[in-house]
Symmetry: C2
Subunit: 147 residues, 2 copies
Amino acid sequence: MERDVSANSRLTIAAHALTWIGLYQRRGYEVATSEQIATSVNTNPVVIRRLLAELRKAGLADSRRGAGAGWMLTRDLAAITLLDVYRAIEPGPLFALHPATPDPECVVGHGIGPVMAAVYDEVEAALRGELAKTTLEDVLRDVLKAA
Amino acid sequence: MERDVSANSRLTIAAHALTWIGLYQRRGYEVATSEQIATSVNTNPVVIRRLLAELRKAGLADSRRGAGAGWMLTRDLAAITLLDVYRAIEPGPLFALHPATPDPECVVGHGIGPVMAAVYDEVEAALRGELAKTTLEDVLRDVLKAA
DNA sequence: GCCGTCGTAACAACTATCGTTACGACCAGG
DNA sequence: CCTGGTCGTAACGATAGTTGTTACGACGGC
């Protein structure tokens, strides 16, 4: 499967960006620029802007334009869980069913779809439950503890 | 994110193939051909052979060559969990860390990697725990119940 | 008006998945 | 021994997601 070398660092980067903004604001600054965040993440500012645009749609962040522009959080780090971030970047299903509908004449082909879908639903629920346990405040605390 | 439209149906297809073989053997046949399985799954036999080759490496299935060739299970459906299948197809990590190492001068950039990795470890453990709850016998039972 | 920043489109590079064709390797049965 | 069916596997193409990059218009304090 090799789920990816070219893979899913979106949740990591989104959490990194929000945590960075949170710490920056806690130090008294009003807004953080995509350039500053990109420097910490070590990527291109456009990547940050794209990702933060999705987080803004989900209500986790907001941006200001014009001079003195930049990004800010809409609520405290303690009020944002990794599940919120996960939902904001709208990942597709973890597992997919068949690309082509299996043979309906076959007992297995006919019935296995819903059975696997039910399992996948529970797996996703477990995954979301785990992500909900951690807030960005927890992340920041652990990050500062490690330093 | 759209984890995939072109995505991960490998677990679905692997479970389908093994369940099909299991049912076929239960009906008295010794081996199933990749062509038969492919018909039920509605795909190309090569796709099935490729996937079953990985399951064979993991010890879940075996093949016989020559005339009267085909595939068989190495143990009962009840002794194979979806976690076994998941491990057999060797999915890469669910979430990746940063593609490029973040700025080590930055507190967040320096410390967030291990923190996220710890979270991801727990998430994967939860996912595996859920997959371990279901055996292919369970899958077959539910499939037959639905019919 | 200027200038810095966002907003977004467009493109390339890379990778994984899925389907397909092709062909050699293998082996039971005649 | 040879034949026919099946596996084993390489090779391609199509499709699509992610990441990085350039480019340029839109916005709005100053």
